[in-house]
């Protein structure tokens, strides 16, 4: 019984964020708003390191184990990198209410942590809603821009719609088992209600993760939201939603049905193929990265489909998720550093001359997303996932995934090529000055992308422990 200590990181973030509401304009004037947020996230990461594992199955609807600890650290580090690297960009985007911005970001992060730690469907739902409600507001935080309001409205309506499906699934699970816990006290036999319950929860969470065919909100929201917000959510939401999806799927796998892996197989193929085909046609980089995130979620699902034969598939998925986070945070953070309205390919033409640092980092991240050296993280994680699919005997799925990653190179390459080999439009040739904190965060992120792939063993040990604690060894 270690009681409330397992709440410590979440409490740090959610209570700490209240400081912004209490102090009003004081923090903004003293320029401390951003640094308070960094401090709170660092404190949360430190606490994640020292809180003990839960004894028994769960306490107060939350569970601390290797799985939740790893993903919580990834979400917090991703949030920290995105907040640090976009600190200067936020002001350029015309978000003049910094207090509210950081309050909402920390609230969203605490909701994401609840999703990651949950061991109870009620806490899952509360976490999803806390994170989502804060993000709906963040997306609309450039209030004078039509596309920001539009993305916020679309995200809100579709997010609530998917939450309703998740909630219906939870109600049906409660009706079938008599408990809201993810670990039923007594084994309940499979029946139609449990089938419907998992179907509804899968639909709701596939929306949140952004898996095709439930992905249509992703491009609009990623493009319309301020780039600093997109940076934040591309990592935090992805990790939290994947954590929740994995928990529900692993629970679902205790009812082995012949069609269940078939359904996931179809979802993975749809996400990879639709995501990549749509990304090929985009002129907006943010939109392209959004469709690429759909495709990448499909690759991650390939690992989950391979779990039929043990926890190694989940480990491969987690490895992919961690390296994907580093790459996507970096890509969006570079865009945010280029300018508040950097979106079309023309905005990064000639970036190699305007800011070699940004162009170099961008190249590392995009080659990583494409899965090519020297950004080894992308290549290594793709190899892990695909080899899991092969060893599970899913040859068709592995071939489709490899073909998809080859196809994806076509659009990922365009961006570094535009940055280095095309000249900038006449009106934007002046060099970009990159603030020191942004440069530091980007370089560390790029270094992580290269090093994770070159030396995968430490991370691999971590994700194996995490997968074992989720699935059971």
């Amino acid at each position: 019984m270690n009681g409330v200590t397992s709440f410590a990181p979440i409490l740090t973030l959610s209570l700490g964020s209240l400081v912004y509401l209490v102090t009003g304009k004081l923090l903004e004037r003293t320029k401390l708003a951003a640094f308070l947020a960094f401090g709170l996230v660092v404190a949360a990461i430190a606490m994640l390191g020292i809180i003990p594992d839960s004894i028994g199955e769960s306490e107060y609807g939350l569970i601390v184990n290797d799985f939740s600890r790893l993903l919580a650290v990834v979400a917090c580090v991703g949030a920290l990198v995105s907040l640090v690297s976009t600190r200067a960009a936020v002001e350029g985007e015309g978000i003049d209410t910094l207090n509210e911005y950081y309050f909402l970001a920390l609230t969203a992060l605490s909701g994401a942590l609840v999703m990651i730690f949950c061991s109870d469907f009620l806490s899952l739902f509360i976490g999803v809603e806390v994170a989502s409600l804060a993000l709906y507001c963040l997306c609309g935080s450039r209030i004078h821009r039509g596309i920001s309001a539009e993305s916020s409205m679309k995200y809100f309506l579709l997010g609530c719609f998917s939450s309703a499906f998740l909630l219906l699934g939870i109600a049906l699970w409660y009706g079938a088992t008599g408990s809201l816990s993810m670990v039923p006290l007594a084994a309940v036999p499979y029946n139609a209600m449990i089938f419907l319950s998992f179907l509804m929860m899968l639909v709701g969470l596939a929306f949140k993760v952004g898996l095709a065919p439930f992905h249509f909100w992703v491009p609009d929201v990623y493009q319309g939201a301020p780039t600093s917000v997109t940076t934040f959510m591309s990592c935090v939401v992805k990790v939290a939603a994947f954590a929740a999806l994995l928990k529900v799927l692993v629970l679902g796998f205790t009812y082995p049905q012949p069609w269940s892996f078939g359904a996931l197989w179809v979802l993975a193929v749809l996400a990879m193929t639709l995501g990549n085909l749509a990304a090929l046609q985009q002129r907006s980089i943010k939109r392209m990265l959004a469709y690429s995130s759909v495709a990448q979620a499909g690759y991650m699902l390939v690992g989950i489909v391979s779990t039929e034969y043990g926890s190694d598939g989940v480990a491969a998925t987690l490895f992919y998720l961690v390296s994907y986070c580093a790459m996507t945070v970096g890509s969006f953070a570079v865009l945010a550093a280029v300018g508040p309205d950097a979106d079309g390919v023309d905005s990064i033409q000639g970036l190699g001359k305007r800011s070699p640092l940004l162009a170099g980092c961008l190249t590392v991240f995009f080659l990583g997303l494409a899965g090519l050296p020297p950004s080894m993280a992308g290549l290594t994680s793709k190899l892990f996932v695909f080899s899991e699919a092969l060893s599970a005997g899913l040859y068709g799925l592995a071939i489709i995934a490899v073909l998809n990653s080859a196809l994806a190179c076509a659009y990922y390459f365009r961006i570094p090529v535009a940055a280095f080999f095309q000249s900038a439009p006449a009106q934007q040739t002046q060099p970009i000055s990159v603030p020191l904190t942004t440069a530091l965060a980007l370089v560390l992120c790029a270094a992580a992308v290269v090093l994770i792939g070159l030396f995968p063993e430490p991370l691999l040990a971590l994700v194996r422990d995490a997968a074992d604690s989720l699935v059971g060894p």
């Binding site: 809603e129 709906y136 309001a149 539009e150 679309k154 309506l157 809201l180 319309g224």
Partner: protein
């Protein structure tokens, strides 16, 4: 038992009506009302299942859902007002700057 089936059936029908409404209506406020109806349909199911299972977990869940739905309406209406200030319309078909 028979009455529980009736209530759950009613809640599923309400949920379906709400879902259809979300898909076919174009006014953001009406779409939002349909979503609220879906959430309340699930609340009805929670209460019915709570009676069926003979514990209070489902009824406690309803309170949480009600609080979350209230927070959702506060934020949702604010977002719709922000949209109206930019577009002078709350029709979802008019919010079409973001596509392909």
């Amino acid at each position: 038992m028979g009455s529980v089936v009736t209530y759950v059936g009613l809640s599923l029908v309400l949920f379906a009506i709400g879902a259809v409404g979300v898909c076919i209506r174009r006014n953001a406020i009406v779409v939002f009302m349909c979503i609220e109806m879906m959430l309340n349909a699930v609340n009805l199911a929670f209460v019915a299942f709570s009676k069926l299972q003979g514990n209070l977990d489902g009824q406690v869940a309803v309170f949480f859902v009600m609080v979350i739905a209230a927070a959702e309406s506060a934020i949702g209406l604010a977002i719709i007002i922000a949209l109206f200030r930019n577009l002078v319309s709350v029709e979802t078909t008019d919010a079409a700057q973001l596509k392909w």
